[in-house]
């Protein structure tokens, strides 16, 4: 339940960001930061059953809901693979609403430890849809992705992504 609420709130945060983000540069933008930070200060949790994630590729799905994390008892984290059901989709996309798909979590608002001991966290929960073999369904990836995907053998996603954090 808590996870569900958190993910709901994350959408609010995202929409605010989307509205403001394009016009303001990174240097000024107190408004931007405010929208950002109120969203940041919540307690983040694992990606678990019923977490709704944004799809950041051109597979045709807009939002998916996690129905199973393939690794971890508590849920999925950054870089893990999940099984999800498509909740919203663009018309004429490869993926239709209601389908069960696999996805790699490329952004997670909950912080994850890195190999050197520092931590990394992102703005939202986002996923890239893949097939069962781990090949991405879409041909583009939007936004930053973590370099940890290389260790998870998702090099294709890394090469498609514009920014690697």
């Amino acid at each position: 339940m808590a996870g569900f609420l958190a993910s709901k709130c994350s959408h609010v945060g995202r929409s605010l960001l989307g509205g403001l983000g394009n016009k303001l540069s990174a240097t000024v933008s107190t408004q931007y930061e405010m929208a950002n930070n109120s969203f940041l200060s919540q307690i983040r949790s694992f990606i678990q059953m019923r977490t709704v994630l944004k799809v950041v590729d051109n597979s045709g799905a807009k939002k998916v809901m996690c129905i199973q994390a393939l690794k971890g008892k508590k849920g999925a984290r950054l870089g893990d693979t999940i099984v999800a059901s498509v909740k919203e989709a663009y018309p004429n996309g490869k993926v239709k609403k209601g389908k069960v798909v696999y996805g790699v979590v490329v952004r997670a608002a909950m912080q994850k430890g890195r190999c050197d001991g520092s931590e990394v966290k992102f703005d939202d929960n986002a996923v890239v849809l893949v097939d069962k073999q781990g090949q991405p369904i879409g041909t583009r990836v939007f936004g930053p992705v973590p370099h940890e995907l290389r260790r998870k053998k998702h090099v294709k996603i890394l090469s498609l992504a514009g920014h690697i954090a």
Partner: protein, 169 residues
């Protein structure tokens, strides 16, 4: 491996320390410790928080321009390995650090020096202008009106009616 600067306090973030937050426009905010991260989450502006480097630079408390800062500059092209260069750099590092520390101390020293003179000047002026407020200690002994009489008791006339009224109340 790269030593990054903390977004909030501008201190060095060594590998394995702190947290980094990646915004959706791929801007990375690195923080050296939870203190800086929390301040960021509280939407504080580092230019307005007194203990940050940004504040100190802005208010002239630290050096802003110095040749020693050039050595710390971020370079996007990796340096090609050269044994002699490494040797020279390792030799130079302690010297550079010493020069930097000395210059910083000079800067702070210069700042304090000016303020001391200014304060002395102000004190002098106050002393000249408001000398009448100061009374010499000897004056208390000479003039009995400044002190309470020690041995003599004060005699106050009491009206009979007033005293009765006070008692009944």
């Amino acid at each position: 491996m790269r030593l990054e600067k903390c977004w909030f306090c501008s201190s060095t973030v060594y590998p394995g320390h702190g947290i980094q937050y990646v915004r959706n426009d791929a801007k990375i905010f690195r923080f050296c410790r939870s203190k800086c991260h929390k301040n960021f989450k509280m939407k504080r502006n580092p230019r307005k928080v007194k203990w940050t480097k940004a504040y100190r630079r802005l208010h002239g408390k630290d050096m802003t321009q110095d040749a020693t800062f050039e050595f710390e500059r971020k370079r996007n092209r990796p340096e090609r390995y050269n044994r002699t260069t490494v040797e020279n750099v390792l030799k130079a590092i302690p010297k550079i650090l010493k020069v930097k520390a000395d210059r910083a101390a000079d800067h702070i020293g210069g700042r304090l020096k000016g303020s001391k003179q200014k304060k002395r000047k102000e004190d002098k002026r106050e002393l000249e202008q408001s000398l009448h407020m100061v009374k010499a200690p000897g004056a208390f002994n000479e003039d009995p009106s400044f002190t309470l009489p020690v041995d003599t008791k004060l005699k106050v006339k009491v009206n009979q009616k007033q005293a009765v009224a006070m008692e009944t109340e």
